[in-house]
């Protein structure tokens, strides 16, 4: 499994408890939007970010968090934070 595919899998596992649209979750793609597609309650986005921080051992600053609205943005930010570690 490629790094990106593995990361997608990890991310999918992280968002799983918060999603309210099972169909969009099962068809998770790079352009899947956390709020509009997965119907994650916006308040829970901070919990998703905390879970990502724990999983990848990174710290996500406020600016990055504001941009983390879909799967692709999340993957990009995770990658850049890992690279900067």
């Amino acid at each position: 499994m490629s790094d990106t595919a593995q990361m997608m899998k990890d991310l999918k596992e992280i968002v799983k408890p918060y999603i309210q649209n099972q169909e969009a979750f099962e068809n998770l793609k790079e352009d899947t939007d956390f709020i509009n597609d997965l119907k994650i309650n916006s308040a829970n986005l901070v919990d998703v970010v905390l879970d990502i921080e724990d999983k990848f051992d990174i710290e996500i600053d406020n600016d990055s968090m504001d941009k983390m609205l879909n799967v692709k943005a999340a993957l990009d930010i995770i990658n850049s934070k890992i690279a900067a570690r």
Partner: protein, 423 residues
Amino acid sequence: MENRVVITGLGVVAPNGVGLDAFLQAIRNGTSGIEFYPELKELGFSCCIGGIPSVSEELKRAYFTELQLRGFNSSGILYGCMAGMDAWKDAGLSITDETDYDSGTIFGTGTSGVEKFREAVYLLDDKKVKRLGSTVVAQTMASGVSAYLGGILGLGNQVTTNSSACSTGTEAILMGYDRIKAGRARRMLIGSCSDHGAYLWGGFDAMRVLTYKHNDTPEQGSRPMSATASGFVPGSGAGAMVLESLESALERNAPIYGEILGGEVNSGGQRKEGSMTAPNSEAVQRCIRQALENAGIQAADIDTINGHLTATSKDFTEIDNWAKALNLAGNAFPYINSLKSMVGHCLAAAGAIESVACVLQLKHNFIFPNINCEDLNEEIEALISPEKIPQKVIEQDVNIVAKASFGFGDVNACVIFKKYKKI
């Protein structure tokens, strides 16, 4: 015209019984829910016993989703939601996708989520504010319990939390009653809840108002009206009722447990012998008298009283106040009982849990026994006939129950429940 207000649903999460059936059986049998908790001893508490409802992880999942339980650490909200949802279901009401503007909730508490707050304080002091996540506010805001219930049930009328220390639950009943009576809501889910554990109970232990004499005999620890009463035993849990206009209940063909005739809330203003922690007897008597007047009943109409009676030296003062307010003594005094002998003092939840017990007495025609007062306090015995303090369950028709609760801040609440009759 003012609405008559009836009770159409009950829910309870008590140290001696979780759910109506278990609780009914426990109070009939005089079953204690008080246990020894090693963690209290570990923390150096003088009183290491308490009352905590038994709720398994599996049972929690019958009420909450996995998402709701993520980072969830507020026992009061847990108990409150369980009791509230049970009462709603018991009243034959359903949960839909629509907002129900005719139904609201007044669900009280003293503090909310003390353990959650403790978690947060540790993270904050460790400079990790971001790590609090999204769950701290909803679980630690005073109105957390009513906010949770409002969302779960889709309530669209008033959704709020009242707080008046140990009179909270009884006060909530009267606030809900007033709202329905005035025609501002058709149904109000009312109740109160209290967290359990060291972080809530510690302040009381420090005040030395808890008993330290029964760490080896927990079930005998809570002794209202006993000569050897030595302080209260802390408890926790929740009680809830669906109050409804008679019109709405009849329209829905709902089961009716009883009627609320009225009541009174007041305060002694911390004047005379009243203080932050002690009641002004004049105000207590006034509250009881006014409750009777508002309910339109005479003292002699009362079949049984459910007192506040915490198992401190104030028990005699309370009974003296009842006797003076009702102008009844000796054999003429009604029956009186204290649920605290079985569940301890459930603090902010006390008024609601005890009121559920009162309504069960009306519905099932019995008077539950007092336990742990085989050695009655002599002053109490001199004032009212000992047989009015039942130590075994009494099976008899119960028509009117008077319930009072008193709280820190010198606040009082008294409510009158009556068996429902058409006219």
